[in-house]
Symmetry: C2
Subunit: 418 residues, 2 copies
């Protein structure tokens, strides 16, 4: 993988020019793309900018986010060749920070769950996860130092886990969702992928202008709530074992780790997520559903019909549940810096029939809390397993610090075990 931190150190030191750094990404795409299929479009003419904290850094934009100089096809035939007039704000934030937009990465249609042709770089027989399939795979395959994703259920954290990279879903609305195709206005969140936790933190700091870097000091030991959640048993034995081991490793590294049962209202909120998601999607995709139904993927088409049948009362009730759950979570989190849980039910599923499940993600998307996939663990076959750090709403840097602490503790533990 391309380490953003390493690239920047070399650019800063004058050992590597921004042009050469971008050329490396172009070359890596040429070498790996034919196997991984992470890109919808590679802009071979993309050049480095001369200044900015992300000069020399190539970025892939999920093809559900508008770009003014490349089509934006939403993973759907309906938007074949569709050319927006403007760049989405998050694309502009990247450009303003000096980054180079090098291409558009694959997305499941409308960022839902009908799979793309992208393959998992760790084992081409497996899915990279979704819906931000191309962005996660491109980073994991060493084609790019950073890429953008979006998450409505688990579309940043899950593919990051399956691809063994860091994924960061910031607090709701920390990065603007304008200019991305909306699926659910209460849930859609823009996030980032990079090789490691400090890298996603640096990139998010650079584009947002917020104080989110975690690479300048050793993170202090966090207060961790270890939450198995009510669906723990739905995770694979390997995944269950990995997160248990991670809890022990963090405690040994000096973190305060307490097993914590989540308040029951959070389980209600978990059940409320699909109610809100599909009610809103049925409205957000009304044009496509009424006019181009035959071109909508089968998974999403069936669920849009369900979403249209959700009553206003059910939706309003779900929103009231969310409000209460957010308060209960805020109360719980007053004693913790972060929650430790799993990022996905296990390693990437075999084949391309499914992009996997968002069951360990959707609650946190709904809560609007910052989430980080911490890479570094693997199952017996070498496929990555991800653990998830969930922070407090609006305390994104604390979440990233806790995730960095976890990443380093797990890495030390792995190297001792090896």
């Amino acid at each position: 993988m391309i380490s953003l931190a390493d690239l920047q150190r070399r650019i800063e030191a004058g050992e590597l020019s921004p042009d050469d750094a971008i050329a490396q990404s172009h070359a890596a795409i040429e070498a790996r793309e034919k196997d991984v299929h992470a890109f919808v479009r590679h802009d071979k003419s993309a050049k480095a900018q001369a200044s900015g904290p992300l000069r020399g850094i190539a970025v892939g934009i999920k093809d559900i986010i508008d770009t003014a100089n490349m089509p934006t096809e939403m993973g759907s035939e309906i938007y074949r060749g569709w050319q927006p007039r403007s760049d989405a704000p998050v694309v502009m934030m990247l450009k303003r920070a000096g980054a180079t937009i090098i291409g558009k990465t694959t997305t499941t249609a409308f960022a839902s769950r009908d799979p793309t042709p992208t393959l998992n770089p760790h084992n081409l027989g497996h899915t990279p996860g979704g819906s931000s399939s191309g962005s996660a795979a491109a980073v994991a395959a060493g084609m790019l130092p950073i890429a953008t994703g979006t998450q409505t259920g688990g579309s940043v954290i899950r593919p990051a886990a399956y691809c063994g990279i860091a994924g960061f879903k910031p607090s709701y609305k920390l990065l603007p969702t304008i200019g991305m195709k909306c699926f659910s206005w209460s849930l859609d969140t823009v996030g980032l992928f990079a090789a490691g936790v400090a890298d996603v933190a640096f990139a998010t700091a650079a584009i947002s202008g917020r104080d989110l870097r975690v690479d300048r000091a050793t993170p202090s030991a966090p207060r961790i709530a270890f939450a198995r959640t009510h669906i723990f048993a739905e995770a694979s034995p390997d995944m269950q074992n990995a997160v248990e081991q991670a809890a022990q490793t963090l405690a040994k590294a000096g973190a305060s780790v307490k097993e914590t049962a989540l308040p029951p209202i959070l389980e209600d909120a978990w059940r409320a997520h699909p109610v809100i998601q599909w009610y809103e999607a049925a409205r957000a995709l009304a044009f496509e559903y009424d006019n181009r139904r035959e071109l909508i993927g089968p998974f999403i088409r069936d669920h849009l019909a369900e979403g249209a049948s959700v009553t206003h009362d059910a939706y309003d009730g779900a929103r009231r549940t969310v409000k209460r759950a957010r308060q209960a979570l805020a109360d719980l989190m007053s004693e913790y810096d972060a929650i430790l849980t799993m990022s996905a039910p296990g390693a990437a599923p075999h084949g391309l029939g499914s992009t996997g499940q968002a069951i360990f993600n959707r609650l946190w998307t709904l809560m609007g809390t910052p989430c980080v996939n911490v890479p570094g663990l693997a199952d017996g076959t070498g496929l990555p397993l991800g653990v998830q750090i969930v922070g407090r709403f609006g305390r994104d840097r604390s979440a990233l610090e806790a995730a960095l602490f976890a990443e380093r503790a797990l890495a030390r533990s792995q190297s001792r075990g090896a």
Copy 2:
């Protein structure tokens, strides 16, 4: 003006065909548009649908909301000829309810405050207000029974007041803002214009599928908080007098009316509005600002530069203020059905140099509460004056009922005075 209620009664009774109703709007546009300049585009081929609660009803769409069969130019040269691929969800909701999209109405550039050429139908020497200038003027001129607007500061309620029609800004996110050009993601709200309060209620009910009609029963007497607000003195003497008289009229009609001082945190929130609006606008319009600055209107250009200089701390602090203010308002409103205040500082200003001020609107947009402009009053020169009913968040029907009660009480009072 075209009364939606009247049109529907005649269509329902078979006295008027949907085709003839649409033909009436086409003819009215032909007759009045050359004076009022409310339209960017008139789709002369637009035809009636055969079914749906809004069959035979012609609707104008503010030209900041995407339409698949007509360009959407955002009131800006930058989007000259821009043709979206899909209809915005609110357009689809209108179509699904049977309405006919008959044209696109003028908007100030990006729904800010650089004026359009639209004139006030009550006196062509005056502004119709903005930013939803064309929609308000088209309804007031009798060209359309309903039209859509959007409000970030006061862009629905203010032009409704200036044009002497009903304007309804529902609770935040009751109507989706997807497919409208974003100015401020925390504030942008889609609303509707029609001749009277029952008409906007019927239309909103028809498109949202929610129980919002108020035309089937006499509204019960509401509990009204009469709030002069801290900027009362900035309103014209006529306007001050009109809202004082309205408070008395409502009390005489049986409403409980109590003079109420708003909690001081609401004044803080009022000051926080521009901080949030311009911070977000500087990001939402980043592409246009960086790439087409010479084509952005002078008012918005200067303010975008200011917005870019708002610190994250100032923005985050403003959001915390909003959260506290919403709670304080909810507490206050537990004893009331609605707040009575004014819709604008006075009648429509002379000339087209300004679309007027949003100082009596922006607090309520920020609070996300439903707001209704109640028409029926006028100053000595015959220009309309609007009073505003502000309801509780999520209690849109109660707000509409209170507004209908006020509309009827004011009408009775006017006819007695005449």
